[in-house]
């Protein structure tokens, strides 16, 4: 069995979700007072959905990032 220090796929998932969460949350806050002409605009879905993405993303970053790189391919 070969040893590779490969970053787990879950870490990539976490990073991408955090970035997306921040962008979506920011856009939701930016148009809080004047949401666009969409159905149910008053629910401000981008705000709470963006926050949810950040929480999920941070969980995956914390669980699989930093010093927790895989020892080998097997733990991917």
């Amino acid at each position: 069995m070969k040893d590779h220090a490969i970053i787990p796929v879950w870490f990539f998932v976490g990073v991408l979700l955090v970035i997306y969460g921040v962008l979506i949350l920011a856009s939701g806050l930016a148009e809080w007072s004047g949401p666009g002409p969409i159905v149910l605009a008053s629910m401000h879905a981008p705000v709470w959905w963006g926050a949810l993405l950040i929480v999920i993303g941070l969980f995956y970053c914390a669980a699989f990032g930093g010093g927790k790189k895989n020892r080998s391919k097997t733990s991917r």
Binding site: L16, S27, I38, A45, P46, I56, T74, R76
Partner: protein, 555 residues
């Protein structure tokens, strides 16, 4: 048409950059043939399971089945439940040991070990053709998204996305495909789940949605799964329950989930037999939930969209087709930011669908056509290089097939027609070969050939003489999907009959040649040493119970 803001475009651009970066990062890990074509066979059950179900959850699935749900109602959910779950569990528990223990690279590779080169070459050739055609469908689905939502030039969308897929798959092989499928899994769920949530809030829940549909389409039943299947003319699909149970559940889905190498390849990448058995079981739970983000938006479209959608072939200026229901629902509820995420989810689905097809194509071409028939002995690096070139060539060819898909009433009609040609007969050959040691190499080849040719022949007979539908699909009320189900059933039966007949007049292989390939001659490791909650069979039983409950709830 909707216009994307800067933040939406940034979200899409970040996705493209991320998949390219991941592909180039993984290139260093995909040096040998085992790495490039089977991701080193070292994936955990969870990664293999998510990749297994994601390989099938492309934008084609999202758009096509959402469109089918608008067209046929909740009957489309059969393709996620009875048309998927029993087959996925059968693959994991019954068939996977044979695939895994034989250490084959592919399904045609298994056929070569079991039946010899003729059956393998036939299945490899038909599979290669099918993957290219399917890639084309994915491109077409993508073009629909870009046309409806963004007004982007179709050719620009196709080439940019294809180029990106080509780079990351050619660099990292199945590693890249699997990593991006897992990424795509999260994006699709998180990008699409808001549509049913907001849709149900708007309609006042399930019952509110049903009453709106009844008001919009009086006299038609779009929300019952089984109760309208007693007669062809009682449901929007023109389907009979025998077509769903025997054509879809027993043949077509079994064929797709157990012999379509695109999905089986993901499970073959698992690190051990237990992970390989568990991966489809894990996948089955997610598969059962997919109607939430695919079928439900289609039903909500029936309830809330002000304009009636029509078939692609009947499209007039200003109208939208069935396949556009999901983009229209995204545009209805999503503002800046979320819209970018929704579009990215569809783009990710499209690219993962493409990547899945081209990586499977590269494997089958290299290992099942090029190596056995064109260049038997070459260094491993040569075959990896061939795999990389195949990825690019496969993509270029599949661009041409994108235009073929445009002539069908809905995307799923085209896909199901392809499956009935190639997958249903293949299932007959593989399952007989695995479970009955007497089946001979000549019988395997003849059965597969007869099944495939008869399926294609039935398709063209109905095209030239529509009245033949009453024989092939048992009713003139049968619609395209129903016809596909029956064609699959007949081609499977023809395959089985021919295989059995030829078996009895030809000489079987000696038992010593079939060890590790056939039931009764293969030592399958028992699960006795595993704790009860770690056994794949237990979770397969739980999945079956959930499946039955869903049938009861939506009967």
């Amino acid at each position: 048409m909707i216009s994307l803001g800067g933040i939406d475009l940034a979200i899409i651009a970040i996705y493209f950059l991320a998949v390219l970066a991941i592909g180039l990062y993984l290139k260093r890990f995909a040096q040998s043939g085992e790495d490039f074509f089977l991701a080193g066979r070292e994936m955990t059950a969870w990664v293999a399971g998510l990749s297994f179900v994601s390989a099938n959850l492309g934008s084609l699935e999202l758009l096509g089945w959402a469109g089918s749900a608008y067209q046929y109602g909740i009957l489309a959910a059969h393709w996620y439940w009875i048309g998927a779950i029993p087959a996925m569990l059968f693959l994991g528990i019954v068939m996977m040991p044979f695939y895994y223990i034989s250490k084959t690279h592919s399904v045609p590779g298994y056929l070569r070990l079991r039946f010899g080169p003729a059956a393998s070459a036939l299945s490899a050739t038909t599979f290669a053709a099918m993957t290219i055609l399917m890639s084309g469908v994915n491109m077409y689905a993508m073009a629909v998204v870009m046309k409806v939502m963004l007004g982007w030039n179709i050719h620009f969308s196709i080439w940019i996305s294809s180029l990106t897929v080509g780079i990351y798959v050619a660099a990292g092989g199945l590693y890249s495909a699997i990593f991006n499928e897992v990424l795509q899994f999260f994006l699709i769920w998180l990008g699409a789940l808001l549509v049913p949530i907001l849709g149900l809030i708007e309609t006042g829940g399930w019952s509110g949605m049903v009453s709106r549909i009844q008001r919009n389409f009086p006299g038609q039943d779009f929300t019952h799964l089984w109760s309208t299947l007693g007669r062809f003319q009682d449901n929007p699909m023109g389907m009979h329950w025998t077509g769903i149970v025997f054509g879809l559940g027993a043949v077509l889905s079994m064929g797709y989930w157990t012999t379509d190498f695109l999905v089986v390849q993901r499970v073959l990448a698992a690190k051990d037999l237990r992970s390989a058995k568990l991966a489809p079981v894990i996948g089955s739970f997610f598969k059962m939930a997919v109607p939430l983000i695919v079928i439900l938006p289609g039903l909500l479209g029936l309830a809330v969209l002000p304009d009636r959608l029509v078939a692609e072939s009947a499209l007039q200026p200003g109208q939208h087709s069935y396949n556009e229901v999901l983009p229209l629902m995204l545009a209805r509820y999503f503002g800046p930011g979320l819209l970018g995420l929704g579009v990215t989810a569809l783009v990710a689905g499209f690219m993962a669908g493409m990547a899945g097809n081209v990586s499977a194509f590269a494997t089958v071409w290299t290992y099942d056509i090029y190596r056995p028939f064109l260049r038997k002995t070459a260094p491993d690096a040569h075959y990896v290089s061939m795999g990389r070139w195949c990825t690019i060539i496969g993509l270029v060819v599949s661009i041409g097939t994108a235009y073929l898909a445009m002539g069908f009433a809905s995307i799923m009609d085209y896909v199901q027609a392809l499956f009935s040609f190639f997958i249903a007969p293949l299932f007959g050959t593989v399952i007989l070969g695995m479970l009955w040691k007497r089946v001979t190499p000549a019988a395997g080849f003849c059965g597969l050939l007869a099944g495939t040719l008869s399926s294609v022949a039935m398709f063209f007979v109905v095209k030239f003489d529509p009245s033949a539908l009453s024989i092939i699909a048992l009713s003139t009320h049968a619609k395209a999907l129903a016809e596909d189900m029956y064609r699959a059933l007949w081609s499977f039966l023809i395959n089985v009959i021919v295989t059995v007949m030829v078996t009895f007049v030809t000489k079987p292989k000696p038992g010593s040649d079939l060890k590790g390939l056939v039931y009764g001659l293969t030592k399958i490791p028992m699960e006795g040493e595993l704790t009860w909650f770690a056994r794949p069979a237990l979770w397969a039983a739980v999945a079956l119970v959930v499946l039955l409950l869903l049938q009861r709830i939506f009967w």
